[in-house]
Structure formats: C-alpha cells, structure tokens
C-alpha cells in the first residue's frame, strides 16, 4: 500500500488510542501500587505536557510509517506482528531518547557529578541499558497494539460485512 493511500484519520486514531491507553494503564498501575502521589507530585506540569506531547508525536510518526507500509485491513495478525514489533521497538527507543536527553540535560546543568568523565560514563551506561530496555518494552507494547488493532478491524468487519 502506498503511503498516500493511508487515511490520515486511521493513523491519527490508532496513534492517539495507543498513546492514551498507555497513559491510562500507567495511571491505573500507579493507583494500584500507591505510587501515584509520589510520582505525580514530583512531576512538573510543563515537563509532563512535554513528555506526553513527545510520546504522542513519536507514536504518530511511527504509526504513519507502519501503516504506510502495511495494509491493516488486508494483513493477518501473524503478518502484522513482525512490523508491529519493529515499529513498537522504534517507538520505545525514540521516546527513551527524548527522556534521556531531558534527564541528561538536567543532570549536566545540576553539576552533581565529580568530573566530565564521570558524567559521560554514567550517561553512557544509562543510554545503553535504557536503549535495550526501551526496545524490548516497545516491541512488547507493539505486539499488544497489533492485537488490539486487528481486533478492532475484525469487529468492524463483523458489524458491516463487505
């Protein structure tokens, strides 16, 4: 399917659905663990808005790329899994990069390190470990997203057979 064939509304819908579901599930998790007060209390409003905007933007970008290459209607769940894993991992990594840059900038300007060498070593370790973790988490979320998307397409097909 050519990228121009993809309805932008489809991309925007699924990107926003996945982003907001992630946030809602995250909040539910924080409530269940009792960590909502501590975490949200330490989150600046502007930073929170920027992070959400970054996540939304990254997800929209990767969804546009994904559905420019994959025909959601004509691809089975099995066929959708591989591109979903790849694009999910890409989404996770790109969002981690945004997080990393924010944290690195805050850490570098705080002066809370002994030397430049210490700073670079710490950031390299965080970048490496975080990249691996974000790729794995992103891939897993991508699989869940693919299952949800296929279920929705199937539900539309059941309600309105061709």
């Amino acid at each position: 399917m050519a990228e121009s064939d993809t309805d932008p509304l489809l991309v925007a819908t699924l990107a926003t659905l996945h982003t907001v579901l992630l946030v809602v599930v995250g909040v539910l998790g924080l409530l269940a663990t009792g960590a909502a007060g501590d975490l949200l209390g330490g989150l600046d409003t502007l930073v929170g808005v920027l992070l959400f905007g970054a996540l939304w933007g990254v997800v929209a970008l990767t969804h546009r790329r994904l559905f420019g290459r994959v025909d959601l209607a004509g691809t089975s769940l099995v066929g959708l899994l591989r591109p979903a894993v790849v694009h999910g991992a890409l989404t996770g990594w790109l969002f981690f990069l945004v997080l990393f840059l924010l944290v690195a900038a805050a850490f570098a300007t705080s002066g809370g390190f002994a030397s430049l060498g210490d700073l670079l070593t710490s950031l390299s370790i965080v970048l490496g470990a975080g990249s691996v973790l974000s790729l794995l988490v992103g891939a897993a979320v991508g699989v869940v997203g693919a299952v949800v998307d296929r279920a929705l397409v199937r539900a539309v097909g059941l309600a309105l057979p061709a």
Binding site: M1, D5, D7, L9, L10, A12, T13, L14, T16, L17, T19, V20, L21, V23, V24, V25, V27, L28, L31, G34, A36, G37, D38, L39, L40, G41, G42, L43, T45, G48, V49, F52, G53, W56, D71, L72, A73, G74, T75, V148, L152, V153, R154, A155, V156, G157, L158, A159, L160, P161, A162
Partner: protein, 179 residues
C-alpha cells in the same frame, strides 16, 4: 503547580469534554434527522457522503480532544499530589471512571474505523475490515444506493452510545470533583 497553571489545565480539560460531548450529540442528531429521508429531487443527496463528512470532522476533533483530555487529566491528578488517596470511595470512583474511559476509547476507535471504512467505500479505495479480497472488485460507489440502512443505523447507534457514555463519564468526574 501554580494557581494559574492549575486553572489553565482544568479549563482545557473541561473544554475538551465539552467538544467531545457536544460534538457526539450533534452528530447523532444530524444522523437522526437524515434517517429515512428519501431523495425528493435532483438536488437532493440521500447518500451518506455529507453525514460522513460531518462524522469525519468530528472524529478528528474527538481524537485531538481525547489527547488533551488525557494530558490534562493527569495534570488534574498531579495537582492533588502527594495527597492522592489510594483507597476508599474516591479511588474506586476514579478507577471506575478510568475503566469506562478505556471502554469508550476502544468503542470510539471501532466507530472511527467504521467511518474510515465507509469513506473509503464511497471513494472506492482501501477499506477497513472488509478484507483484502473484497478490495479487488471494488468500484467507486458514489451512487446513493451503495450505503445502506445498516451503515446509517450503525453510525447513529455508535454516536448515541458515545454521547451516553460521555454523559456517565461527566457524572463520575463531577462526583470526583465535588462528591
């Protein structure tokens, strides 16, 4: 969070809900008014095209508002931090509201995909939920008979359900704010 920021976050939150609820109610009413209206002359258009244009516009607005609702909802919760209750009736209501929101999101994604599919059928393009083979034989279906009563009924009911669920969510939000 400063008072000005807190007010701004709440204002955007309320504005987003207003757009969602008002838009779905108006789209539902527009679909109800077109129910069973036959073509009376050459200038009349009994097809779903104008309604789908309205619905498509609302869907864009819906998902934009949902994004704003999510970020400002977390902001509203953050304004209460660190004293966010972790148990009790307030927390139960919040969890119920969030679960109902998840149901609304999934149902709304289905509704939007339905609109995308019907728009594609009118244009004779790729569809959602029809399967790959169904697209092979598709020709432009701009003629009025192509989109049947079932499509209209599905759309009408989905916007009615959206309006109803949003009303319940609004009631739960009121309980959380003032209950």
């Amino acid at each position: 969070m400063s008072l000005a920021t807190e007010l701004a976050v709440r204002w955007v939150h309320v504005l987003a809900v207003s757009l969602l609820l008002g838009g779905s109610a108006l789209t539902w009413l527009a679909l109800r008014q077109r129910r069973g209206t036959p073509a009376r002359g050459a200038g009349d258009d009994p097809s779903l095209a104008p309604t789908l244009a309205l619905a498509g516009g609302y869907e864009w607005l819906f998902w934009l508002a949902v994004g704003l609702l999510a970020v400002t909802g977390v902001g509203n919760l953050g304004a209460m931090a660190p004293a966010i209750p972790t148990s009790g009736p307030w927390t139960t209501t919040l969890v119920a509201k969030l679960l109902l929101l998840v149901a609304l999101l999934l149902g709304s994604a289905w509704r939007t995909l339905l609109v995308v599919r019907l728009r594609a059928e009118i244009a004779g393009g790729a569809t959602v939920g029809a399967g790959a083979n169904a697209r092979e034989d598709r020709t432009p279906r701009a003629d009025h008979a192509a989109l049947d009563a079932r499509s209209r009924s599905l759309l009408r009911r989905s916007y009615a359900a959206t309006t109803l669920v949003l009303g319940v969510l609004l009631a739960l939000a009121e309980v959380l704010a003032h209950g």
